[in-house]
Amino acid sequence: MVIDKEVDDHEAPVPSIVFRLEPSSGVPTYLQLVHQVEHALRLGYLTHGDQLPRVKDVVASLSINPNTVLKAYRDLEQKGLTAGRPGQGTFIQASPETVGLERLTALRRSLVSGWLKDASAAGLDEQGTVALFMAALRDFRDRPVESRSAGRGGRQRGEGVA
């Protein structure tokens, strides 16, 4: 298993993205890396053609298992966000489908004037509202894939006992 083929070890260029880890977040490490790339894409910090840091450099800066980085990069590639070029590295290929601003505003308005209003009328306080929303979101995600329209992501492991 040789992961990085490059032998030259001279000054690494300024990386396109700097990863960080939150060990206590409960989110698997590889997913944290995936999310950070997606986030950077959304914000425009990463654009088409950018090279992701070499596995060896990520591993050395975060002190994590190389397989974790490989898993994250594989995941990004499967999502069509990056492409590996043999002998060169991993490059950004596309931006994640972003929801248009108009659509976002409409969704937000319907949440505020509809569900949130009902919840408040029923006497739920802020924390209760959040808890209920998160529980509903979990239910929604746990439904079979066909029954939800645009199901990206979702839970990755330990899906179920049931």
């Binding site: 298993m1 992961i3 050395a60 002190s63």
Partner: protein, 303 residues
Amino acid sequence: MNVVETSGLAKRYRSTWALRDCTLAVPAGRIVALVGPNGAGKTTLLHCAVGLCTATNGNITVLGDLAPGSLDALERVAFVAQDVPLYKYLSVRSMVAVARNLNSRFDQAQAEERLRALEIPSDRKVGKLSGGQQAQLALTLSLARDPDLLVLDEPLARLDPLARHDFMALVMAAVAASGFSVIFSSHVVSELERFADYLIVLARGRVQMLGDIDDLLAGHAMLSGPVEECDLVGEQFAVVQTRKAARHAELLVRTTGNSELPSGWESDDVSLEELVLAYLRDPSASMLPGPLTLDELEASEVT
């Protein structure tokens, strides 16, 4: 190829069994964490694997079919002991020269390059280096031997958080570059997930749990629900740990079959730390076929 394979491995020191009936196989290309309470047999197992001690009973091979301690195995297995054995009164430069002369396979240029990158002065006496630097030096010398298997006994125990980070970063970067296998023992359960992708839990000289960490996590779940139904649900699963409160209960279970949960019960993912601690707390809980009972363990005790 398995980097380490044992069957019925046992080691007795006078009247105490440090290892008994220890059977395991570790696939190549992994970073393996070896975990267990003090006296579980971690160091003994590692010493058997690198050829520093011979087993009382059973077999052990490394890197396929090599006998630990044989010339072939010595050449391809590198070991950094718990107390980082270095010659304290030699300069770093002389220490590198000693290591070069004692090993048939040793890349001196690589060692010097790495020490430069780590900013370890080559004319400093080894004993004058910080604990973190001494650990890095020992590791550098091991890496320069271009091993196929690197064995580290408690590499993190005596290092501060920064030194820990730097030490493991060095290991991980070397693995990324050359793809060798690593086995390290550790007490630090909270950091395992970061480094390891394969886990062995030892308890009282036996293997309690072993496997790919993702598989182990996927194979366990934390169930919570009303305490009255706790026993009923407990019967459906192999329960590792039960915790009961006044009205609700939490069960850490192995999820082998596909049993339906009664309504009102929820299933959550387990973290590696939770999982390891639960197993360590209960030495009778075993992943492997035929859970060991405490009585069995006591019965095999030699007095």
